[in-house]
């Protein structure tokens, strides 16, 4: 999956209406739409699309969408 496709899926999970407002460098915790539900949706996205189960402590270290993508795609 490309980073652009991931951003689209991330936007859908977090319910950002216009995905073009996001970039790889977006700090997602600053988004108006970010919430505990959005967190659960992103965790589900990582699990379903990449079979990655991430601990909350590890997720807390991620700041940008690129970092979430990297956590999904690293070997």
């Amino acid at each position: 999956m490309t980073i652009n496709k991931f951003i689209e899926k991330f936007a859908e999970a977090v319910e950002v209406e216009d995905a073009s407002t996001l970039s790889a460098n977006t700090e997602f915790r600053n988004l108006e739409e970010w919430s505990s539900l959005a967190y659960l949706s992103v965790i589900a996205l990582m699990d379903e699309e990449f079979d990655v189960q991430i601990e909350m402590e590890d997720f807390k270290k991620l700041k940008t969408i690129q970092e979430v993508f990297d956590a999904c795609t690293k070997e």
């Binding site: 859908e12 950002v16 209406e17 919430s35 539900l37």
Partner: protein
């Protein structure tokens, strides 16, 4: 002249109704159109939908789609097309459903699968499609799941139907919690026995002796689709703006005793 007081008006609302080709779904379509709503009508039965369209007010304002609601990939596409034509959704009536009277000893996995797909999964995934970002009004709205008295009270040979309706009753409550932040209210409605095309051939209505017994269980006799459609108007309208996570019992007194 001052506009007439009507807290139940559906003017300006866009309502999705599944199972709109017959029975309660059709009656909901007719009544909602009379209250001023624009409609998105879904059903597998194309001819039945066309017939419903001859009965609604302002048919030119509505959108219909003959779609199999268990085609879970197609449903979101249909909703997107409908929103583009009719506007963002403010309400959903999950009317589509089937009923059976089946003893435990002859039940099969395939039957349970079918009932959970048609009665539960379709309502769940239609709700998911309708509430996807871009489809639902930013002002919020109202979603209604069709549970049943059989979802909370027992009747012989109604276990499969009852399980599916109990699932909808329970699911509506958690969805009410989840969607409140979007100002989307979620409620269920629990009808008693309503005489409709899907159940008029079942023994408890078709057989005169059993029908008599069924009627005796309802303090006010059996219901008709209008009884449910009018209750739905309340749940869809701004009159119920402070009502969410509730289950509206409309059963002619069936569960009172």
């Amino acid at each position: 002249m001052e506009k007439q007081f009507n807290p139940f008006s559906l003017d300006g609302k866009v309502i999705v109704i599944s199972g709109a080709a017959s029975g309660i779904g059709r009656q909901c379509a007719i009544n909602c159109s009379k209250m001023g709503a624009r409609l998105i009508l879904l059903d597998l039965n194309e001819a039945g939908l066309a017939e419903t369209m001859t009965m609604v007010e302002h048919p030119e304002e509505h959108f219909t789609a003959a779609v199999n609601l268990t085609d879970y990939e197609r449903v979101p596409e249909v909703i997107k097309e409908a929103v583009a034509k009719v506007g963002r959704i403010t309400g959903l009536l999950n009317c589509a459903g089937i009923s059976t009277t089946l003893p435990l000893n002859v039940a099969k996995l395939e039957v349970l699968d079918k009932f959970f797909h048609v009665n539960v999964y379709t309502a769940y995934f239609l709700t998911q499609a309708v509430t996807k970002i871009g489809n639902f009004s930013k002002e919020g709205g109202s979603i209604v799941f069709f549970s049943s008295a059989a979802g909370q009270y027992g009747e012989t040979c109604k276990s499969i139907y009852g399980m599916t309706k109990g699932a909808l009753y329970a699911g509506a409550k958690s969805l009410a919690c989840e969607l409140a932040r979007k100002n989307i209210r979620v409620n269920s409605i629990s009808p008693g026995v309503i005489v409709t095309p899907i159940n008029q051939n079942l023994p408890h209505i078709a057989d005169p002796e059993q029908r008599k017994q069924t009627e005796a269980l309802h303090l006010l006799g059996l219901g008709n689709p209008n009884d449910i459609a009018n209750a739905c108007i309340y749940l869809l309208s701004d009159a119920s703006r402070w009502v969410t996570g509730s289950n509206l019992v409309v059963d002619g007194g069936y569960t009172t005793r």
